[in-house]
Symmetry: C2
Subunit: 411 residues, 2 copies
């Protein structure tokens, strides 16, 4: 016998998107060390942690430095002090009731959405919207559920649901049989949303077809439109068929601090091979207890502070700041005659490339000629070809300058 | 089609060990609310974060609260400032050279040892010492490599290598063909070690048999004996066949702060189905890039402070404190006529139960009659039956009191 490798890793296409972007940016910067690049590519924030969050974070570090208040291993699922704030603030106002044991604190929605597929059998058929956040696909490729990549860029066993300007970025319900559906709304990368009625169709579909929805709501805090749900659990019956993932990364500048959570309602079941219902809450609990050791205590205290009155106010100011950037980007690019989507209930603006040039080419034009870093839409899947994504997370000043630089380009 | 569950989860035996202990302790505490339990069960520390660590941690939080010094997403692999300190301090003095790209910072050795098996094909044969830290087995059970549990407590497709008093806790090399070997030294749970010569036999075995060693060195900082290696890479040829996992949990009181690392040398290869060598470094890099988003920046700065001269001094004082506890436990229990192992180069003391009573029964006696929480050896595997584990991580005062309480018992 010899130790052998998981060859599913060979099936992953290219580099992880953001690693490839970083590589191209590094190369450009090495050749042009004096150029001041404006980064609107990776969805990373620029506003610092708020005062109230910093204070709570540091106070908790002090607790860790004192034998009387020191905390060692915490619950793998997260501390109740944070879970209770989540339920009270993020769900009760929506009319959604949850038990503490249904909420799991983690170090990132990327980790949660990447790891959750471990609970599923090998032969589930995965459906994703296209374009899509790469982690949903890549984590299933590694797990052996994808089959091989084909020439068109699609994996043979994954069902893709295109979301493009042609269908107003509202993917059609699957025509094929699918078991697990990844949805992300407000959408990464397109910045578009689903209304209550539109999302209800997905919940109804999942109920009728014994499918499960993995709902990534990492950008929920940016929703302003009245007809857009803040949680999938606002839709009747969703607790039976949906897991929800949320993150503090974009809400509260936690991309470098690391805290997120997912909700696994007790009602959610999928089937075993005998056709019996199996609850996912205890399975996820077991997965996390075995392979995870909880989030750093000071980080959980920092996250808790987001829910104080002062914390909420500070966070809202940062969100408003990014929304103003998004409006500026939308307006500026529309003024240039570009087709622009998203950016209303989302920090992401999805831009059709001009004159039918491809998205990596437009990425390179923006990088080389405007010194602006974007994300090429094709990196998010075949239906992302012909688009780029810009983020509203830079400073207002730099965002404004980026728009001025882009306005100088000739398409 | 219907969404179906990963039925390998059904094969996991009982609760995760420490969850079951917590359940029994909670039940006891509810019925005996006035009893002051002394916890020597879960390997959790009690000494607070050191002054230097606290200062670096808080300074980094301040950086996160300032727009000019704020850091968003960091490298998934960890910051170079910490990786460089690891190489300089933990490896160079041992004569082990590593590149930055071979060291991966994570939020815990539990996560790393649990996740690393994702890189292996389904049909690798796993070998573990028995008793064993449950994560190695459970993560492979979930992944479908174990086969079914049998009446004797062993999984049909896992090879167990007994380590008991009968073989001086030196497991024999596998007689069966095995591919992946989990070793943990200083050992959790027995507290025993391997000498250079003994560990060399494992490295030689792995080289001769195309096997891979996953070496968990989470307790390395407790090694005092000259003939015990601090890293598997001190053994010639180990870089070709071993991954090493380390953690700040026990070294620096990081159980609630969360930081660890693993080393994946470029030389380590396993085979693909064509019999070709495949490097594990890029595969682990890809796994981490896809499913992990790096450790909280302030936590990495806190870990970096461990390597300052003041940090090292403070950490050593804490380690000495626990070593003193371990010596006290060993001496006290030996004085009672018990057979005691470990506790020299390790914070764990492995105690033979008296009069052949089983380990959960001895756990209950210690809980109910001495109000001391231990860990039953059987929870670590069949060969742990007839032993309990005590940890040296409580305060000296409580450790002393626990020993006095145990001395009152009649076996």
């Amino acid at each position: 016998m010899v130790a052998t490798v998981n060859e599913n890793f060979d099936l992953i296409q290219n580099n992880y998107l953001f690693v490839e972007i970083a590589r191209r940016v590094d190369e450009f910067q090495k050749q042009n060390p004096d150029v001041d690049l404006i980064k609107m590519g990776i969805g990373d924030v620029t506003r610092p942690l708020s005062k109230t969050v910093v204070k709570a974070f540091k106070d908790a570090v002090d607790e860790m430095g004192n034998a009387d208040t020191f905390r060692g291993y915490g619950p793998e699922q997260g501390y109740d002090f944070l879970i209770e704030k989540i339920i009270e603030n993020d769900y009760e106002p929506l009319g959604v009731e949850l038990k503490n044991s249904e909420v799991f604190i983690s170090d990132g929605a990327k980790c949660d959405t990447g790891n959750f597929q471990e609970l599923f059998s090998q032969d589930n058929i995965i459906a994703v919207t296209d374009p899509v956040y790469p982690v949903y696909v890549d984590s299933n490729v590694m797990a052996g559920r994808s089959g091989k990549p084909q020439e068109d860029g699609f994996y043979e066993n994954i069902v893709y649901l295109p979301a493009t300007a042609e269908n107003d970025f509202i993917p059609e319900l699957p025509k094929e049989d699918v078991d697990i559906i990844y949805l992300c709304y407000p959408n990464n990368p397109t910045g578009t949303t689903l209304t209550y009625d539109q999302l209800k169709q997905w919940v109804d579909y999942a109920k009728e077809n014994d499918a499960l929805i993995l709902f990534d709501a990492a950008y929920e805090a940016f929703i302003k439109s009245d007809d857009v749900p803040h949680s999938i659990y606002e839709i009747e019956g969703a607790k039976d068929v949906a897991i929800e993932f949320k993150s503090y990364s974009k809400v509260a500048g936690f991309t470098g601090t690391r805290c997120a959570y997912c909700v696994v309602p007790e009602e959610v079941t999928i089937k075993n091979s005998k056709g019996e219902d199996v609850q996912l809450t205890p399975l996820w609990n077991r997965r996390q207890s075995t392979k995870f050791n909880g989030v750093s205590y000071p980080v959980q205290k920092a996250a808790e502070a987001i829910y104080t009155p002062e914390g909420k106010k500070e966070i809202q100011e940062d969100l408003d700041y990014y929304v103003k950037n998004a409006q500026l980007i939308r307006q500026s690019l529309e003024d240039l005659g570009l087709d622009v989507y998203g950016g209303v209930d989302s920090p992401y603006i999805w831009v059709k490339t001009p004159n039918g040039i491809d998205s990596w080419e437009f990425f390179d034009i923006l990088l080389n000629d405007a010194n602006v870093v974007s994300t090429p839409g094709a990196g998010f899947g075949p239906s992302g070809e012909g688009y780029i994504r810009l983020t509203a997370f830079n400073t207002y000043e730099k965002t404004k300058e980026a728009m001025e630089r882009i306005a100088q380009l000739e398409f």
